[in-house]
């Protein structure tokens, strides 16, 4: 009675295959296109002559402005998500009776199930210069005249924070949930107050989740073009919009690819740099707490 037994790792192959075909291959293709050129009005790309010319073309002043704008929205949006999600996730994981947690997670997730575009267009209505929010703020006397926020960087920031918040709350919630109450009580028992417990026990133990949440928000946010298109207009332009317009409107795949590669590099370098800066800032703090005893003499 012998049956054919496949090796267990076979279960990982579909996912690896999927990533190879639909992630690695397109990225390599984009990289390849970026060294080519647009040969004529009706062709999108050609690669018979290879050069870095498209990169030179991409790095024009408009592009730099847009990149700077993208980086600003990306960093500010991610930080805002982190600041907003942190207390929410902590409260859900540590303070709320467990029977309400499912409901709260559902409340966080349900808006996320609604179409991304529809949700973003919804903000257009709210933020309209003479919309109801404008009227309400006028009535309260907080502003005078029309609400001038739509089609600005602030509107984009508002939109991305709204759109990506669940992606921050969920990993943070899971991370805080795994820091048991025992840990916090042990810390307090040993003389650490609330802040010290947060800094020395809760945050270090939740760090993997904080990093995951930050990357999960930062990376798609940097490449987002829907929010920027719908709420940003000309003033709130983002790099994703530029890339999309090269592919879709200008039909210049070579230039679009070069911009996409630059955007990928910007995301990688900025994320690595942010990690390095935070590590360096925490170094003195961590050093002062380190205690190595070594072997007995």
């Amino acid at each position: 009675m012998s049956r054919l037994r496949l090796p267990r790792p076979i279960l990982a192959f579909p996912a690896i295959g999927w990533l190879l075909i639909f992630f690695v291959a397109p990225v390599l293709l984009v990289l390849w296109f970026s060294f080519g050129y647009k040969p004529g009005v009706f062709q999108t790309h050609a690669n018979d002559k290879l050069s870095f010319d498209r990169y030179a073309e991409a790095l024009n002043p408009t592009f730099f402005t847009t990149f700077w704008n993208t980086l600003w929205v990306g960093v500010a949006g991610t930080l805002l998500c982190l600041i907003i999600a942190f207390p929410v996730a902590y409260w859900m994981a540590a303070k709320i009776p467990s029977r309400y947690r499912g409901l709260l997670i559902a409340l966080v997730m349900v808006p996320y199930w609604t179409n991304f575009l529809v949700r973003t267009i919804g903000w257009q209505i709210i933020l309209a210069p003479h919309g109801w929010l404008s009227a309400a703020l006028n009535w309260l006397g907080l502003i005078d005249g029309s609400l001038d926020i739509l089609y600005t960087r602030s509107a984009v920031l508002l939109g991305v924070v709204y759109n990506y918040l669940p992606l921050m709350i969920l990993p943070l919630y899971v991370a805080f949930d795994r820091v048991s109450q025992d840990m916090r009580e042990a810390s307090k028992d040993l003389g650490a107050g609330r802040i010290a417990t947060l800094l020395r026990v809760t945050i270090p133990l939740a760090m993997p989740g904080i990093i995951v949440g930050t990357l999960l928000v930062y990376i798609p946010l940097m490449g987002d073009y829907i929010t920027a298109t719908v709420l940003g207009g000309a003033k709130g332009n983002m790099a994703g919009v530029l890339v999309a317009s090269q592919f879709q409107t200008a039909q210049n795949w070579a230039l679009g690819s070069a911009m996409a590669v630059l955007l990928i590099l910007l995301i990688l370098v900025s994320a690595a740099l942010a990690g390095l800066i935070i590590w360096l800032l925490l170094l003195p703090f961590n050093r002062s707490r380190r205690l190595v005893i070594g072997v007995a003499k």
Partner: protein, 382 residues
């Protein structure tokens, strides 16, 4: 504990020196259930006190109130003569050894032990010195730079102990710290804990549901039941003169006999009579329960002379408990009697043969029957 400013100088009681713990009519209610019900207790400095009881008796809640993790609904708690109500855990001069140790997994063993000292801003060199001596005290010096996750349960337990004791608290609270260890290690740690406690002179308040643990280590034991202290005494008193059938059944094993009090002050039921040396002062006809410890029962194949405290039955099993032999006798009517004799000189008996169990009136404890016993030891087959 040091008071920071004269403005809120805490009134200290001269009759409660450092290490004294006083609970005064403390009650804690969770929702609809009363976890701790009007408990009053005084623990002397350097005393080893155990809170013993089944789960849900309020022993852990009592400990958590001392640590500052729970606030009583009424009553007051004083540690070293100072009222600690409203004082958060991090400002109390007590430390806890948690049930699951609660060691910080992201810190090394040494950093775990240093945690409390670092919070108090103790100079670095002094921290190092104290950490090393605390680790030496629990024989874990060579594990200082490992992560707690690389240690066994027993080793983690020692680190948890060192992490608490390094702060030199007035009172150490232990929440079933030996529960997760295997039997041999647990017995070893019991001896070490007791030794440490007598060397350091720190007040230990030890929560456990294991009567053996409580008996072997404590100066005094508080037996708790449904949020109340049933009896508070030293191990010998609790073992030999329990004040209720509950305490009698909780500490050690008992043979229980139910019956009614006859006019001579003896228990009488369909099987016969049981006489206690100290009769229960109650009306004739009261439902009573007699308790006799297995080690107080003599077992023999010969019929004894005319005496009241004897019962015959068929020998069901003999089990070897190391230093003693344990006999289980079926006395009919679904009842069994458990007898235990020291191995040297224990009678050689045939299984299924007829045997006689006898005991002296001095070994009989008589209680009112309405006090039900915990864990139902009246059928000692377990």
């Amino acid at each position: 504990m040091t008071t920071t400013s004269g403005a809120i100088a805490v009134e200290k009681r001269p009759d409660e020196p450092a290490g004294t713990v006083v609970l005064d009519s403390v009650t804690k209610i969770f929702g609809e259930s009363t976890a701790v019900d009007n408990i009053s207790l005084r623990v002397e400095p350097g005393e080893f006190l155990s809170l013993l009881g089944p789960s849900g008796c309020g022993k852990t809640t009592t400990l958590r109130m001392l640590a500052g993790f729970e606030t009583p609904n009424s009553g007051s708690i004083r540690i070293s003569g100072e009222d600690v109500l409203g004082i958060p855990p991090y400002k109390r001069n007590v430390n806890t050894v948690f049930q699951a140790y609660a060691l910080f997994p992201h810190l090394s063993v040494a950093e775990n032990v240093a945690y409390g000292l670092q919070q108090k801003k103790v100079p670095k060199a002094e921290v190092r010195e104290k950490v090393v001596s605390a680790l030496e005290m629990v024989k874990m010096r060579s594990f200082a730079d490992r992560k707690p996750t690389q240690l066994s349960g027993g080793q983690q337990q020692r680190i948890a102990l060192a992490r608490a004791l390094v702060n030199q608290p007035a009172v150490l609270l232990l929440d079933e710290p030996l529960g997760a260890l295997d039997r041999q290690l647990r017995e070893e740690m019991q001896l070490e804990l007791k030794l440490l406690q007598s060397q350091l002179g720190i007040t230990f308040i030890f929560v456990t549901h294991d009567q053996g643990e409580a008996l072997s280590m404590s100066d005094r034991i508080a037996i708790m039941r449904e949020g109340k202290i049933e009896q508070l005494a030293d191990a010998e008193t609790i073992y030999s003169s329990p004040t209720s059938a509950y305490v009698a059944g909780f500490i050690g094993q008992q043979n229980f006999f139910e019956g009614t009090l006859n006019k001579d002050g003896n228990l009488e039921n369909s099987g016969g009579k049981i006489r206690a040396a100290i009769p229960l002062s109650a009306q004739t006809g009261t439902a009573v329960r007699a308790a006799i410890r297995p080690e107080d029962i003599t077992i023999d194949s010969k019929e004894p002379g005319p005496q009241i405290n004897a019962i015959s039955g068929s020998l069901v099993s003999i089990s070897h408990l190391g230093e003693t032999l344990q006999y289980l006798v079926d006395v009919g009517g679904g009842h069994t009697v458990l007898a235990r004799r020291p191995r040297p000189g224990a009678p050689r008996l045939e299984l299924k043969s007829k045997v006689w169990c006898t005991w002296t009136p001095e070994s009989v404890l008589m209680f009112h029957a309405h006090e039900e016993s915990p864990g139902s030891h009246d059928s000692p087959e377990e």
